[in-house]
């Protein structure tokens, strides 16, 4: 369940951030104690864009605050390059944060805000001035150093917050949902910008978000969190294409989920006589009576006509319940009796593509065996 499993994007030994069996319990007076982070372990490599993804209340912000030193773990430890951070106040950690609300100092100019960390570390004023100019250029805010934060747009304030943190050249930059206050267009632009900054600076970014799209676009690796635990850890492609559990599958993208019982290692019985074929022996051979969830992405499903298909095509008849036009795509929602489930099929609206069916029409849908995978119970 945790980061102990080797991961393609780089598992680490020693260097980077190690979170080892960290638990955080909040004692709320008068109500039950909340276990915000529950025995969580992670290893985050150097120069990695790492995303903590999860719904609100999953513990991702608490975890970030413990890395920053703004909260202390109830148990477990956080190590940076092999050294424990335990007991170090935030101002002694080579880690900086971009806060969700930006937390820019309203009584200071943009330049003074960016210079703050450098000044606190007692750097020479000439060095500070040069660094401030350099970082403001990096976030494309040249010439705004004299302004007050209140005179800037939300997007500009966001860049100031970034510049203020990056100026210190931290080992790790923590970003707590920094894009959530921006409008959609700006958010899309900032995603690329953040990715560019991470590459340009070589600093490890730990990014917290509840937006799966953000996580998929920017990250080298994503950890999906729920109820204080890591449900899945891996590169975005793996997380999207093969979510291990129902929770992850539902949280990231749209997923069709089909219930059944295994007949043998390659076949699933779906109530009655209908069978779902797999391309490889992936089903557990023991416990034949155990109900299993099988998933397939809507874009992997196909509408087919004609007759000749092999068993691996898994063709079923379904009735069109709803058509949803999305611009680039059209989603067709089918009631498939044989599967005992509704299946969404996502069709590309390319030039010359088949005309989507009408509501109420009966069509044939194929669930290719290679695109099916089994979810953990």
């Amino acid at each position: 369940m945790t980061g102990e499993r080797a991961s393609p994007a780089g598992t680490v030994s020693g260097a980077g951030l190690v979170i080892r069996r960290v638990t955080k319990v909040f004692d709320a007076a008068g109500s039950q104690a909340v276990r915000a982070v529950d025995d969580l372990s992670l290893e985050i490599g150097e120069n990695e864009f790492f995303t903590l993804l999860g719904p609100s209340g999953c513990g991702k912000t608490t975890l970030l605050r413990m890395i920053a030193g703004l909260e202390q773990p109830t148990s477990g430890e956080v190590l940076l390059d092999g050294d424990p951070l335990q007991g170090l106040p935030p101002y002694r950690r080579p880690i900086n944060t971009v806060f969700q609300s930006y937390a820019l100092f309203p009584h200071m100019s943009v330049g003074e805000n960016v210079a703050f960390g450098l000044k606190m570390r007692g750097l020479d004023s000439a060095v500070i001035a040069r660094k401030v100019e350099e970082v403001l250029a990096l976030v494309r805010l040249e010439g705004l150093a004299e302004r007050r934060p209140a005179q800037l747009s939300g997007g500009q304030q966001q860049r100031v917050a970034l510049a203020r943190a990056l100026a210190n050249e931290p080992k790790i930059l923590l970003l707590d949902e920094p894009l959530s206050a921006l409008d959609l267009k700006l958010r899309k632009q900032m995603r690329l910008e953040l990715k560019r900054l991470q590459k340009a600076t070589g600093i490890t970014f730990i990014f917290v978000t509840h937006d799966q799209e953000e996580a998929l676009i920017m990250s080298d690796r994503v950890a999906v969190l729920s109820e204080g635990r890591v449900l899945q850890l891996g590169p975005p492609e793996e997380i999207y294409q093969r979510p291990r559990s129902r929770f992850v599958a539902d949280f990231i993208g749209d997923t069709n989920i089909i219930l059944g019982r295994p007949k043998d290692a390659e076949r699933l019985v779906l109530g009655g006589t209908a069978e779902l074929r797999f391309a490889a022996p992936v089903l557990p051979s023991d416990g034949q009576d155990q109900a299993l969830s099988v998933a397939i992405r809507p874009e992997s499903c196909r509408l087919v006509n004609g007759a000749a298909y092999d068993d691996l095509a898994n063709v079923f008849e379904g009735r069109v319940r709803e058509i949803e036009y999305l611009g680039a795509d059209t989603c067709v929602l089918l009631d498939v009796e044989a599967l005992g489930a509704s299946i969404t099929v996502r069709l590309r609206n390319t030039e010359g593509a088949a005309v989507p069916p009408q509501e109420g029409e009966t069509v044939r849908v194929s669930l290719p065996a290679a695109a099916l995978w089994v979810l953990e119970p």
Binding site: Y91, T97, F99, A103, F116, M120, R164, N168
Partner: protein
């Protein structure tokens, strides 16, 4: 569409009318009577005689000797200066004592803040005269402090605590401390907790964070508190009368005496105007400094 209710012109007049009448009758008119009275002659049996005279103002700086010649007398200027100094000292001490209290209260959980603020206002529940009088019990030769120190063997002879400038300052600080705590609390309470965390995140320890973030952002509260303490402290007369023992007068005592035992209304009026001018001068000076951004608490 339903907008916010707007008052017509007559509605505004109706709403503000009673307050304007009260302010006009009981503030503006008496305030105009003061300068008029100051340019009249004193009536030895009280009140004024309607004869123009600058006698009251001359009396502030000079006295007549036996030959009728005017010679400089520094008694009254010294009282004015002592009042200014005591009020400034009171303001500084209230700030030193009040800021930490306000900061600690502002950082408490919301539910506890209410209780602590209530405790700050507890002194107001009793009459000021009684509260100041009780300081006599604490400070006098046979009082709490002297008896305690003597019993502990620290001193043999009682210390002279009562009827000193120090006693007046203690009384003033005690009286006006809540006026400093409350506005500073309000200012700190409004500061986004995220800014404090951001300062820590950016390598500021607690002291640097207080100096660079909390103090500058609490400045409006500090300015308000300083005015709320300095102005009434300058004109106060209960603390100097009771704790200064008549030897250490402040402007307030002087003015009060002119309308009481001394029966010199023009002189009392003149001193009132001097007090008013001193307060206005301090306020203008502060506003000026704040506008230029150089204002320091």
């Amino acid at each position: 569409m339903t907008g916010p209710a707007r008052l017509s012109r007559s509605g505004i007049a109706l709403a503000l009318g009673p307050a304007l009448v009260v302010v006009g009758l009981f503030l503006v008119v008496p305030l105009l009577l003061v300068p008029i009275a100051s340019f009249m002659e004193a009536n030895p049996w009280g009140g004024v005689r309607p004869t123009f005279s600058v006698e009251a103002y001359v009396q502030v700086l000079f006295e007549e000797d036996f030959t009728g010649e005017l010679i400089f007398n520094d008694a009254y200027p010294r009282i004015v200066l002592r009042s200014l100094a005591l009020a400034a000292l009171t303001t500084a001490l209230c700030l030193l004592a009040g800021f930490p209290v306000a900061y600690v209260i502002a950082l408490q959980p919301k539910s506890r803040q209410g209780i602590l603020l209530l405790l700050v206002t507890v002194p107001f529940w009793t009459n000021l005269l009684i509260r100041t009088y009780s300081w006599i019990m604490i400070l006098r030769d046979e009082g709490l402090i002297n008896n305690g120190l003597e019993a502990a063997g620290v001193i043999e002879e009682p210390l002279r605590l009562l009827y000193t400038n120090g006693a007046i300052a203690i009384g003033l600080v005690y009286t006006f401390l809540p006026f400093m705590v409350l506005p500073i609390y309000a200012a700190i309470e409004r500061i986004d907790r995220g800014l404090i965390e951001a300062a820590h995140d950016l390598y500021a320890n607690r002291r640097a964070m207080l100096r660079h973030v909390v103090l500058p952002l609490a400045r409006p509260g500090i300015a308000a508190g300083a005015i709320l303490v300095f102005v009434p402290a300058l004109g106060s007369f209960i603390a100097p009368a009771l704790l200064g023992g008549g030897k250490h007068l402040m402007i307030g005592n002087l003015i009060q005496a002119q309308f009481g035992a001394s029966r010199n209304w023009p002189f009392g009026s003149a001193m009132s105007l001097i007090l008013l001018a001193a307060v206005l001068a301090v306020l203008l000076w502060q506003a000026q400094r704040r506008r230029s951004g150089a204002w320091q608490p």
